[in-house]
Subunit: 347 residues, 2 copies
DNA sequence: CTCAAAATGAGTTGCGTACCTCAAAAAACC
DNA sequence: GGTTTTTTGAGGTACGCAACTCATTTTGAG
């Protein structure tokens, strides 16, 4: 009934004996230390592979001595999504402490490339790994590459710098997120024609631009009977978003759907309800917060498209740890999904 | 800039010194061993709490010596969802090996309560933890309770036995999944009236019954203009499902939506396309497989509601491990979400 | 063949905990 | 008071590996 036999856990000593070398040599090979002839390296590696040997992580961790230090470079200010990520890191504190991992927050103005780059430079040499909410800019790219060069493991978080040499990106594909929003708008309004409003924080933000791109892509190719209104920019602020949407609703009585690309959802919702049109208009926004949750339950918001902040926090830590240990990454586990949240599948 | 100072990793020796006792006594307290006066226990525990001391997991794991053994009791046969869970466990093998964890598959006819109960009984004493796809039946419940009594950690997987003393359930809320399906049907068909067909494997399966319950709940309360046809039972078989749906489509030209609660989605899709009505009918089914993925991309299937099998596999292992180590469980991490998958947010 | 350089062996120490034994001290009992 | 029982201390060993030293062997260059 039970398959797989219990494999007799091999140790480094067994590998050394079988390869006909000493423990010291196996250790040199395992850690890419110099002073071993290439054919000896090959022989040891073959023995390791043949036996599917894995060093015991607990023993390795214990023998290291010093604790690992990770830094999380996050935006200053009151961005709720970022605050949620920080909160989930806080919830992990016992988990981290039991593994002797030190995670430190470094709050910076990530929207100023030179400030962010300078901030990254100061971390060099002091940390085993860095997770950074990165702005895609040449200066930032260079700073990331410098960190990588210095042996620090680097993970971009939420926002990527694909052209850099960062080891991993933890976040969603924002073009796909925009496409998902478009498909939902198209499917939920049905066949009736009408106008669709779209508001973002700024087109200059990479994630917003990508979402808009994906959204327009789907609307053009599949729901061409819908009339997309010119993009509004609400700077992710509630007040400004509310004013813009209020004015727009007054001008166009035939708006049937509304897509908010960034933050400011509370303002948009307020404009909708004050116009008394929250039930007729299909409203789609991003992220799950206490506020969007309430709006979903009320029915004002129809769908929230979100990425799971807890998952991102934990994935970033796990990926940094795996990188530091030279362990393989469980890619399916660390891949962040685009969540479609409606009233009935709220977590 | 950097917050949190690097805490000077305490050890058991530090706790012993501060509490004014020996290492042996701290060890006795930590492992609930007898032979310590109650006020000494209190004093030691207070010292541990005051310093927020956490034993170093790596050291603890190394000192244990023997490896942990977990058993996964899964259904025999070709259920694709279960096969995916097994596949993801296979992908973890390096991760498991590096931690000296032995995970063994035990395939059983989980639908026969006595067979399942007998199977569970044989595991007693041989495993540190058991994950089981459980049928909710008194005999099974008793077998689970016996295991718990014997000190084995027990996690129910995919299907729960809430009345048992299992330590944890890894899976989704199927009533909520059914409600989600209902809401999607209602929202996607729009305002036009029509008939809605629903087919399940069997009403006797707890998860199917729960989904049907949730589905009907939403349809009755929110989309009462839709006419729900009597439930069909396809026994999760493609051929039978295809025949039933073909006949139904012939009889009712005004079906506008179709919900498949269980397996057999391929058969249902075939009936739809052969009737040439795959574009008009909103089709919602469960689980993401190679086949449902194809149907989503084709547009035959509009939404797949799924639970992530990889997540369930990993969550079950992590929960068993945390239980075995007497570590807290990161509940937000182990909570399985109800995924709404459309063409544009396929992982 | 000689000598320097490179490669390897052999060994040690320490990481923090679990688990064990045995002796000593303290407490509880009569 | 003495005796038994309970509690505590002291210490050791082992777990598997990292990281290091130093001696020895092998290799290659001249």
């Amino acid at each position: 009934m039970a398959e797989e036999t219990v494999s007799a856990a091999l140790t480094l000593k067994d590998i050394a004996r079988e390869a006909g070398v000493s423990l010291a040599t196996v250790d040199r090979v395992l850690h890419n230390r110099p002073g071993v002839r290439s054919d000896t390296v090959r022989r040891v590696k073959e023995t390791i592979a043949r036996n599917a040997f894995q060093p015991h992580v607990a023993a390795a961790e214990l023998a290291r001595g010093r604790a690992r230090r990770f830094a999380f470079v996050m935006p200053t200010g009151a961005n709720p999504f970022m605050q949620q990520i920080e909160a989930y890191l806080g919830e992990m504190s016992a988990w981290l402490a039991a593994r002797r991992l030190n995670v430190e927050m470094v709050n910076t103005d990530v929207f100023d490339p030179s400030v962010l780059a300078a901030s990254l430079e100061t971390l060099a040499g002091n940390y085993d790994g860095v997770a950074v909410v990165a702005l895609d800019h040449p200066g930032v790219r260079a700073a990331i590459n410098d960190l990588v060069e210095a042996g620090t493991k680097v993970v971009t978080l939420v926002s990527d710098v694909p052209s850099s040499r960062r080891h991993h990106y933890v976040g969603i594909d924002n073009i796909a997120a925009g496409r998902t929003a478009g498909a939902l708008v198209g499917r939920l309004v049905g066949e009736k024609p009408g106008k669709v409003a779209i508001i973002a924080g700024s087109q200059g933000l990479r994630d917003h631009a990508e979402r808009i791109f994906g959204f327009n892509q789907v609307m053009a190719s599949e729901f061409s009977h819908l009339d997309i209104l010119p993009l509004l920019e609400g700077r992710d602020e509630d007040d400004r978003s509310e004013q813009l949407i209020s004015r727009l609703l007054g001008k166009h009585p035939d708006i049937i759907s509304l897509y908010n690309v960034g933050a400011g959802t509370q303002g948009v919702a307020k404009a909708l309800t004050e116009a008394g049109r929250e039930k007729q208009i299909v409203f789609i926004a991003h992220d799950l917060t206490a506020m969007t949750r309430k709006l979903l339950l009320q029915g004002t918001l129809d769908v929230a498209i979100s990425q799971n902040p807890g998952h991102e926090a934990r994935a970033a830590v796990r990926v940094l740890l795996s990188l530091a240990r030279n362990e393989p990454i469980l890619s399916e586990q660390e891949n962040i999904r685009i969540d479609i949240l409606m009233r009935d599948n709220l977590p």
